[in-house]
Symmetry: D2
Subunit: 348 residues, 4 copies
């Protein structure tokens, strides 16, 4: 696109946290025009009545997706639940706009794997052929040309970026990776549920989804793409009494060629040019990245035990969802990757 | 100043929350250059080592204030404790730069009142003659020309904006105003203290400073400037288990000319052109304004009791401190008042 | 009853916070035997599966209320929503057991007032004639003989105990009482709702139910029983990001006979013999009473403004619900009022 | 001791959380008399002024330890920082009372190991010969006769109980145990510090003490007592935004003889008779044990990866400190182990 063109976007399904966060970012993006925001359930209502913090900032009303035909669109963001998103991708297969799907529907390598981990058949197998896994730090080139982006899950973004340089650099045994991940509650969505009722979360902490969380296979597929033995990743999610943020503590075993210096070197080298990955000399906290698109990574070699501990922190709604989606959009439309993503972390 | 000039600023005392928040805002302000950031105690250290969320964003080191002479400065922000700030204002009295003081040192009408409420003598009486109380919604014209701005306190900003239209419009009895205010802990500063130790605040709530909080007199002086009887404002602060935000619940009694319609009309009229005051039809929450420069106001007339309840919400670090300081700077330098202050509230 | 008799109790509707808290207290009560715990919706399940913290402590299964006939019962606690409770009271009208109703169904003085404030007709008017308002500090004698106790609301308990000595002692103008109350979320129940979703409450704060909360009339009726003019109480509830606890900040105006000394004297005198009201010289915090049956009260006379500020703190699930219900039970069965209620506040 | 004798106790150093929690438990213990509570720094003040939630419950004043000679004592609890406690143990070496030391000073196997991990020389080597590690589930018999109990650390209690049956049963490879532990802030004590300032913890999360936390060696020494290779345990602590509670997520590899059934069987068998360890079929949360002496354990065998995940949850101030100390006292004085420790978890 030309350097002065405006990217015209629509957001499909904007009543949740991801939709709201997309609007927060896109509304201040200097090259974007938000053409339409949709919700089938609350069509007709003002966006600012659903998300009151936008009062006086955004005049848009929520529309039905049926209205999209009225707009010239460059890209559509799908902020829908998995299982629903695939039907919209299918429905839009002949449209000229490009699609960034924030659900899990096209992240895995095949409909069969999807069915195994999501427990339901996939309704649009053709999508898998087009979909590019939208982690810019891994797949930047393909993202640029993609028509359909499968925007990564929050846990996978945090976990993969934490351990990737070790795997790529051959620094660890790929068969033994343990990801102990802790997430804020916004990852569980805006719909009230017993598990995210205030008093169930506040002053509390729990593990959940042991051995079976869907993000396990997403992490494995991306990390093992190079052919390492399968079933290598142990992934355990936990629910933190915080709104936003994921911290992954990753344990691995050094390979024979690994030294403490080499380990630090592969991180420095791998992420030096990455605008959103910060290699930190101190353990990062969630507030160090809150509200921003940063992924903060810290690496420790334990000389006593000869194990490696990696810490990785993101804001699950930004680098783990809406921010990364905009980063992908920037790549797709030839914009500087940081455009509109210069939010400074909000701490405290 | 010309429309393309850059405002060169220094921040004095940047190890606290207010200093950090000033940097968060000013760094993304399109017309500002941060020339220097000072701290006597930690001079020489990198700003990003003191506030790690700025890692990779800001290269500045903290300097001693003695270094300021090396810079051409247009304005200096004082983010210092009360009692300390006055000495810097005095020291800077011959400098060409303008001063925005975020402490309480020049907010009251005289050294005598200061001494009474702050419990110590004032060291720079001359400052009172120059100082303009920097609440743009009240004193915009004087702010434009001021050399020294006394940036308002967080509680007073929230309280005054909540009730001002009622007083100006003659809608209430000025002798009976009760402000029951609840604040997050960042208002108490970054220095660890028993009262702001995690377990003292978390899952807890308390009132403090009953009958004697310094912001009481600040609210009274501003509200009673028109000559109403003194000692009218009852102010009770409380400490919330939240980081940011103040909600003031204000009780008052309608005057004979007040009607429900007139009351709503004075708010609509008074704040219609104000860029940062949003009159809300629903009670605002702290997250509706968090991270932004908004003050959200809601007004209720209780027909049964014939009392008026006003709710007013701000982010104490933004509209209650750093954001309002930048708003004042914009006015002082002929910039559009909203420049650099378009942060959308972060919710959740 | 004889001094060694055991009180046989049933708890009706034990899937919520109040039911769970009743079990927490009654299970360690030295004179109580929990005969049955009911829930229509989850009958057949183990109580400890619904409330997992009771794992290994309590073997009971939830039963249908239809099973109650199988038990010899001395007293039944109704931990049901208002509007549901009345039907059970009606159904039980011929039973020999006594009833402690923790809902709002029989707290007001008439079905007409109930209909006005609760927005629905009452189905069992006869209950109003029997019901005694179960605030021991006001109605101890009637409670002893009552067949039906209307256990007070959480906000009314906190508010009434805070201001009662002032009214009884003629120390204040009864026409101008403002109660600004702040409550934890357990007061809103265990059912997930948007307003109590974790991220709606966490790091947030709001007022709600302005001018119309049902506890307003409950407070008024109890405080104004002596014949003072109606419509005196302004009551504003707020939602705190905490699990448990209410703090009420109460503003009033001294009568001509009030002096600072007399005010403190009426509190000391009124509450000296009360086992659960602690007159505190410092403002109480929620954690000072958490998990206990205490109500902590603090009184301040503002010499400058000549207003009185009272702070009152309770645990809404204990003194505001289950604990007070057990206190009432102790009175009804001739036990020492403190039996089984010696929980020390859990802080932190 | 005879069955009706009262145990006379003193608590040394009662201004912190552990001291306060000891008083909460011992004050309701039916066989205990609290003779004295000491603090050098605040001697003379009322205990209830230091810990206001005890107002009206406990009349004791804090005394200097010099006053202890005036009391007949059976046992003394040391609730002092490590490095300080050892001097008191030394000072008391000729006293007739027994000692339960809640610090880390006598938990390790030798002064040399202590010096290595605590970074300072030990001043009372003789203590190591007498000290018994006070984990009743491992060392009940020795505890009964001990003169000096080294009460276990909070993390070690939680970690050891989580994985002990696997090790004892030969179900896992002892060389590869990873303990990812998350703790509330009370573990860091009552003294205000930057790391436990409210806004540093609230809505935040971090790892700390990577590879070097002192509890690492404590866990290793207890688990490896049977002779397994050293340096097996990887221990990573994290700071949760909660007051109380530790959850340890423990990863290990099954030995050749391990099967899913055998693994569950060793837990059932090992803990069946333990009054305070609950084997849970669902992942425990912190609130499931809060305020109680329970340790809740959950075991998962991942068939896909062939790894074992154990979850273990305690209240760090109870089973991780004061509660376990009282459990040890009960054993030492021939009382039923559960006496005074029947607190039901407070949830929410």
């Amino acid at each position: 696109m030309s350097n002065t063109h405006t990217v015209r976007v629509a957001i499909i399904g904007a009543t949740g946290y991801t939709g709201s966060e997309l609007v927060r970012i896109l509304l201040r993006h200097p090259r974007v025009e938000i053409a339409a925001i949709t919700s089938e359930r609350r069509a007709g209502e003002k966006f600012a009545d659903v998300h009151p913090h936008f009062h006086g900032i955004l005049p848009h009303r929520l529309e039905s997706v049926e209205n999209l035909a009225a707009y010239e669109l460059d890209v559509v963001f799908l902020a829908l639940p998995h299982g629903v998103s695939m039907d919209f991708v299918k429905k839009f297969h002949d449209e000229r706009f490009r699609i960034i799907d924030l659900s899990g529907d096209f992240r895995l390598r095949s409909p069969a794997v999807y069915a195994e981990w999501y427990g339901k058949d996939h309704s649009y197998s053709d999508g898998f052929r087009q979909a590019v896994y939208g982690l810019p730090e891994m797949h930047r080139a393909q993202i640029a040309d993609a028509r359909l982006i499968a925007n990564p899950g929050c846990y996978p973004t945090c976990s993969i970026l934490g351990v990737l340089p070790l795997l790529e650099g051959g620094m660890i045994d790929p068969a033994h990776i343990i990801v102990d991940a802790k997430s804020g509650t916004t990852g569980a969505g805006i719909t009230p549920k017993p598990a995210t009722h205030y008093s169930a979360v506040s002053d509390n902490f729990r593990a959940y989804g042991l051995t079976s969380h869907r993000h396990t296979i997403e992490i494995e597929e991306q990390l093992m793409a190079g052919g390492a033995r399968a079933h290598a990743v142990q992934f355990t999610p936990h629910l933190l009494p915080v709104d936003r943020g994921i911290l992954a503590t990753i344990y691995s075993y050094p390979s024979s060629k690994a030294t403490e210096e080499r380990i630090h070197a592969v991180y420095a080298q791998r992420y030096d040019a990455e605008p959103f990955v910060r290699v930190r000399s101190e353990p990062p906290t969630l507030k160090d990245v809150r509200g921003s698109n940063f992924c903060d990574v810290h690496i420790t070699f334990d000389r006593r035990t000869r194990r490696i501990i990696t810490l990785s922190a993101i804001d699950n709604l930004v680098k783990g969802a809406a921010g990364q989606a905009v980063q992908n959009m920037n790549i797709m439309f030839g914009l500087s990757e940081e455009t509109g993503l210069d939010q400074i972390p909000m701490n405290p």
